[in-house]
Amino acid sequence: MTNGRTILKIRGDLKTYFFTFDGVAKAVDGVNFEIAEGETFGLVGETGCGKSVTALSVLRLVDPPGRVVSGEILFEGEDLLKMKDQEMQQVRGNKIGMIFQDPMSSLNPVMTVGFQLKEPIRLHQRIGEGKADRLATEILEQVRIPEPSRIMKRYPHELSGGMQQRVMIAIALCCHPKLIIADEPTTALDVTIQAQILRLIRDLKRDFESSMLMITHNLGLVSKCCDRVGVMYAGNLVEVCDVSNVFSEPLHPYTRGLIEAIPKVNADRETLPVIPGRIPDIINPPRGCKFHPRCGEVGPGCLEEKPELQEVKPHHWVACARVRPNEGFVK
């Protein structure tokens, strides 16, 4: 599927800080990764780990008091952070499409579905009303909405959650973006509808030959639709690897804890293994490795120095002082 070319490359330690009255909240604190053409990259982590802020930084949609303080975001070789606002508008919604988490609150309740769908088309393609109408109807058909011309005249509240999410996907895809950013696209949906939407996203991504950045807290979802995955913890990537490796041989203690904590369907366990404690304060994070206060395998090196992401095996990157190249986890 992938041809080896990179579509999005984040390098030079992307940092997005929020300058609040309580102090500087380091929401994203040194993140580097890349997405190849045609690839789906999953960004997983718990609430507040900075995965959504990473996505918003890519689109330059971080609002004050938040600001990207360092790093480069190369999209097709160009640094998005250095672009003028006008150039950025040509990228947003056109070359990069975004699917937000909660369709109920991200669609405009006082505009019809058709209007919202045609907005990016008109903005980016300079075509007449009639043609925009035709394009919008076509895209609604592609996201498998029955009777598209009727739905175009409807308001968001008249549609079910699943239908609203389909409209969101249609809006994200209507300009055939090279990269789709999906932020928790199925969290607000029921499981049977979630299965429909996942299948749809997968099919469309293939048809449109797009790449995708999938943001989710659900590791199960990652296993079903991503090629590679990055696990985030308190603003840092702690592990980046192929999706099969993350389940077969997770190396970072946090990743292992996360996978263990999911109730399994085919295993009888009286108690679930837990990660003790809770996510750290991002204004005053722990020194050294941010995970060390919750980690069961803390060693002497963990408290002093923040571990860097290093390639311990081909295509398997881990940020942990206890994991060494070619040796795996060192006791």
């Binding site: 718990e46 293994p273 837990v274």
Partner: protein
């Protein structure tokens, strides 16, 4: 034979929709439409279904937060629905509920002490020093400390708030706890903590749970028996392991295939369409418009809830 702790027979709850332009005509949303089940002492019954299928309404009608339209609810031999006023209050402390969202189920202007004291006040159980002792004890049971009693809900994380909600439900030593999606607002690592806590409490205090959830892997972990709901009706009910190994109803099969468990790889069964409106449910079997195996009979006759194996009930014509 020991009597079950809770017995629900033919429970129905219809909500009227008034149309102001057509005053004479009243339609009903059939949120719960004839549900029968029972829970034994010390057991955990899981109630699964998608949003809008009526699982929360069942929980609320059992506690009489909502008055049922029809049916019978017997708790420990007493008919809950015939009780009024003082009588009801005397029984009701036995049944407690933990709600889904710990952010909206705790009063933001009350300290934890005030929140936890309320059940004791209402049921006139303890006062003064005894009460204070009991509160500290309760906090320790759920893994919090004495210090936290003077905090306000906003000072806690989601997981801690859910612990307080559990604490409040536990306060009067109830027999039955209705857990309405207790972990769906939480992260996985916190979810695991709460699930472990609930299991521990059950062992220690011999609690009986009605565990409402849409997450099948959580249900699998927690429950002894499972009942699957679709559009206000039970479609299947069986011992937990059997439901997962041999699901009988096509809807259950589809639900199981939609579990995103990385350790399981299996064929997906994709359901067509969405859940129909509960005010105009499809005739016959309510699932038939989305069913893979539908026959002529399915759209005409409502399938009976039959026992296909011991303790395994399915409502399907197949």
């Amino acid at each position: 034979m020991i009597e079950p702790l809770l017995q629900v027979v033919g429970l129905k709850k219809y909500f009227p929709i008034r149309r102001y332009l057509l005053p004479g005509k009243v339609e009903f949303v059939k949120a719960v439409d004839g549900v029968t089940f029972q829970i034994d002492h010390g057991e955990t019954l899981g109630l699964v279904g998608e949003s809008g299928c009526g699982k929360t309404t069942i929980g609320k009608t059992i506690l009489r937060f909502e008055e049922p339209t029809e049916g019978k609810v017997a708790f420990d031999g007493t008919d809950l629905l015939s009780l009024r006023g003082e009588e009801l209050r005397r029984v009701r402390w036995n049944l407690q509920m933990v709600f889904q969202d710990p952010f909206s189920s705790l009063d933001p202007r009350w300290t934890v002490r005030a929140i936890l004291r309320e059940p004791f006040m209402i049921h006139r159980r303890a006062r003064g020093i005894d009460l204070e002792k009991r509160l500290v004890e309760l906090m320790e049971i759920v893994g919090l400390t004495r210090r936290h009693l003077d905090w306000y809900p906003h000072e806690f994380s989601g997981g801690q708030r859910q612990r307080i909600a559990i604490c409040r439900a536990l306060a009067l030593n109830p027999k039955l706890m209705i857990l309405d999606e207790p972990t769906s607002a939480l992260d996985v690592s916190v979810q695991a903590q709460i699930l472990n806590l609930l299991k521990e409490l059950q062992r220690e205090f011999k609690l009986t749970y009605l565990f409402i959830s849409h997450d099948l892997s959580v249900i699998r972990h927690m429950c002894v028996r499972v009942a699957v709901m679709y559009l206000g009706e039970l479609v299947e009910s069986s011992p937990c392991g059997e439901l997962f190994s041999e699901p009988g109803h096509p809807y259950t099969q589809a639900l199981l295939s939609s579990i995103l468990d990385p350790s399981v790889q299996k064929d997906e069964i994709l359901l067509e369409g969405e859940i129909p409106s509960a005010s105009r449910p499809p005739p016959g079997c309510r699932f038939h418009p989305r069913c893979r195996f539908q026959k002529d009979l399915c759209s005409k006759e409502r399938p009976p809830f039959v026992e296909v194996k011991e303790g395994h009930f399915v409502s399907c014509h197949l």
